[in-house]
Amino acid sequence: MTTNPFQLDGYMIRRKVFKLFGSSFHVYDPAGQVIGFSKQKAFKLKEDIRLYTDESAGTELLTVQARQIVDFSAAYDILDAQAGTKAGGAKRKGFKSILRDAWELMDANDAPIATVQEDSGGLAFLRRFLSNLIPQSFDVKDSSGVLQATFKQRFNPFIYKLEISIAPGATLDRRLVFGAAVLIAAIEGRQG
């Protein structure tokens, strides 16, 4: 039986770093079972990440799509493919992200409800100017500053691994957390 990734408190995104064209990643539950798969086409101008339950790409779970082709605002919509509705969105904070990666999560009406930020300013600085081999960590906090989830990159120069842990009692829509993790794995991971 397939596990619903939106009900899990922890999972891992694994992405190959050295892939010639396009990119793909798998999502694993804590038992190591594949619960999600995404393959991105190379040379696609508008970012369009589709997450499926497995490699057969038969059942789509989530769609993360950039709003613009040349996207300076870097805003993405997160769609629940099963329900056919928009769960919310994510927007990269351009200037803040120069020194420390920061994202804003929005609800379906585009109202900001949470932030995703690299946890350490010092490490973010070192990562940018000395070595991008230093793994990234992100904290997801709601608008009141309550921790909702953490994303931790595992040190591995060949395979990008991002561990997602949902905080106990988290109230944030897990589809948004999942969408944000997928975006970070696809976009930040590509820059690393």
Binding site: A66, R67, Q68, I69, V70, L79, T85, K86, G89
Partner: protein, 88 residues
């Protein structure tokens, strides 16, 4: 500024301009519906640049190969722009 959006359920409503190129939920049926895009300011600059290159190419072809060359270049450029726009 707002953008008119028509849902598959035939409900017509407006979405905020910042959602251009993205999605919004239909207030009538709740399903996600695409909002018309290509309003990014940089996209306008690129469109203008493509137009300038196209005009210059046509003018260049006209001076080198005459009216026939200009017409062929104009048609070829238009076809290329149409094919690129289909990619999006």
């Amino acid at each position: 500024m707002s953008i008119p959006v028509r849902c598959d359920c035939r409900f017509l409503f407006t979405a905020d301009a910042k959602l251009a190129g993205g999605f919004t939920n239909c207030p009538q049926c709740g399903k996600a519906v695409a909002v018309a895009g290509l309003r990014d300011p940089m996209w306008r600059v690129l469109q203008f640049g493509a137009l300038v290159i196209w005009v210059l190419s046509v003018a260049g072809a006209a001076s080198s190969w005459g009216v026939g060359g200009a017409v062929l270049t104009a048609l070829g450029g238009a076809l290329l722009i149409w094919m690129i726009s289909r990619l999006f």
